[in-house]
Amino acid sequence: MMSEFEKVATLDEIPAGGRKSLVFDERAVLLFRVGEGVYAVEDVCSHDGQPLTDGKLAGMSIECPRHGARFDISTGRPLCMPAVEPIATFEVRVQGNDILLRAP
């Protein structure tokens, strides 16, 4: 059974190109606002299991601050070594000013 969407943040909390860390579904999540879109990924690098929180964001890719692995924030797909596994992503819905997430 699919879980329900849940409000986790508002658009005005995140400037364009910005990010927000939060806990959702008992997991650490990173929200990004890129252009018109909002994206949510689990804040854990699939390579070393540590946070991606302060990693550099370039376009749609987040870079792990320790070993340089990069991931697509819309799909979670790994874009370069040393990561070979994807990171988890969350379904995002924007309703007015509200940002809602649904657990996978």
């Binding site: 008992e26 997991r27 650490a28 804040d43 299991g49």
Partner: protein, 442 residues
């Protein structure tokens, strides 16, 4: 479920601020020496909150989703009836049960009482057995200043189980202790203190469990095992919470001259469990054996930080942890054997084996040695691997379902550690817990 939720547990306000600490103290009827210790520990706790956790120990333990404010100490015990795995498996010479941090069962065979054995509730013994408790309780093994969680535990300790066995008294029957969580959002700070005087012997089987499958809880615990010269202690802790409980514990054993400690830990439940486990071999000829059986599924994270410290010559330590992981689970084991300069002719061993049942689980095994003596034998090893698909196929060709085949393989994997556990009831209980978790017979 409604009966549990409707239990009359009135909690202090969520959180663990100074005001809430004072409110908690007012609910207790304790002697001044113990209250003074709590206050000192609370100061340490506030100070430790300002400091980062030791990255060596906590780097792989993701506590970002941990929200202590969701939990509070309960002012009332949950229901005394409690379904457990271990309790019915053997005849016990005594039993102590705590539910939601309150003692609900407390019995000891009269013959043992007559021999001077004490087995009961910590809250009671701090009041009337100060001479026995004060020199040992959080003074030799788990110190309140060790880290944030041990200070937090020492300040908010909700009681626990004490076993004291006088000199040369040998207890042939095992004793049983239960730490249970019942109502939602309860924080339990149980302490287990075992004191064996010289030449004594005992077996204590302890388990932790939840009354429901869904009520979240918090356990910040401590275990102290003090084994006197020539004494022999067998201690088992089977952690079998539901998967919404946070378990943070510091556990330490101190083993004197020619004494033996056999320590078995089972890690089955919990949303996240982190256990700091130390065995210190303090006297010549001391011996410590540590067995670990862990089975993690779904999004569980079970973490063990183990330390075997050799402080005297001719000491022996032997640690074997076996982990099975499935789904997105994660098990972390970081082990260290430390040998002091005086501990010549010691024999230390540590090993961790992980069996991965899914593509998405992850096991981190980090063995380590720190040796300052020059005539020792210290070895370690770690393995990780997946179940061989051909083995499953072979079993299924002989009429077993996939689950049954998987169970046989998992059981076979754990057998190496079961064989080291002398108490049959513990082997059976662990085996049953594994079976339940694999979904067999449901």
């Amino acid at each position: 479920m409604s009966s549990v939720l409707a239990s009359p547990a009135v909690k202090t306000a969520p959180g663990f601020t100074a005001a809430q600490f004072e409110a908690f103290l007012r609910t207790l009827d304790e002697p001044a020496w113990f209250t003074a210790r709590r206050r000192a520990a609370f100061d340490v706790y506030l100070q430790k909150l300002q400091e980062p956790l030791n990255p060596e120990e906590y780097k792989r333990v993701d506590l970002r989703a941990f929200q202590p404010g969701k939990f509070a100490v309960s002012s009332a015990a949950g229901p005394a009836r409690f379904e457990t795995l271990l309790e019915k498996k053997a005849e016990f010479g005594g039993a102590v049960s705590h539910i939601d941090g309150h003692c609900v069962v407390n019995r000891l065979d009269e013959r043992l009482t007559a021999q001077g054995v004490l087995f009961g509730s910590l809250s009671e013994f701090v009041r009337n057995k100060r001479e026995i408790l004060e020199p040992h309780l959080m003074a030799r093994a788990v110190l309140p200043g060790a880290d944030r969680f041990s200070a937090w535990h020492a300040a908010f300790c909700t009681g626990g189980t004490v076993l004291y066995v006088p000199r040369n008294v040998s207890i042939d029957v095992p004793l049983y202790s239960l730490i249970g969580l019942s109502a939602a959002g309860v924080a339990d700070f149980s302490h287990t203190l075992v004191i064996l005087e010289d030449g004594a012997s005992a077996t204590l089987l302890e388990e932790t469990g939840s009354a429901t499958a869904e009520n979240a809880g918090l356990h910040v615990g401590a275990v102290e095992l003090l084994v006197g010269a020539g004494a022999n202690l067998r201690y088992v802790q089977l952690q079998n919470w539901n998967q919404h409980v946070w378990h943070l514990a510091r556990q330490a054993g101190r083993v004197e001259r020619n004494a033996t400690l056999q320590w078995t830990v089972g890690g089955i439940g919990a949303r996240l469990a982190h256990i700091h486990q130390e065995v210190s071999l303090d006297g010549a000829g001391a011996s410590g054996e540590v067995n670990g059986v862990t089975f993690a599924t779904d999004r569980q994270l079970l973490s063990y930080y183990t330390q075997q410290t050799h402080k005297a010559p001719h000491t022996r330590s032997d640690l074997l942890y076996k982990d099975v992981l499935r789904d997105h689970a994660r098990v972390v084991w970081r082990g260290m054997i430390r040998v002091d300069p005086a501990a010549q002719l010691t024999d230390g061993y540590q090993r961790n084996d992980s069996l991965l049942l899914s593509e998405d689980c992850r096991a981190d095994a980090i063995p380590g040695l720190e040796i300052e003596a020059d005539d020792v034998r210290c070895t370690h090893g770690a393995t990780a691997g997946q179940v061989d698909a051909e083995q499953i196929f072979y079993c299924m060709c002989r009429g077993l379902s996939r689950y049954e085949a998987m169970h046989m393989i998992v059981e076979g994997f754990f057998h190496g550690v079961y064989d080291r556990i002398a108490v049959e009831a513990v082997r059976e209980t662990l085996s049953e817990a594994v079976k339940r978790k694999l979904g067999i017979g449901q």
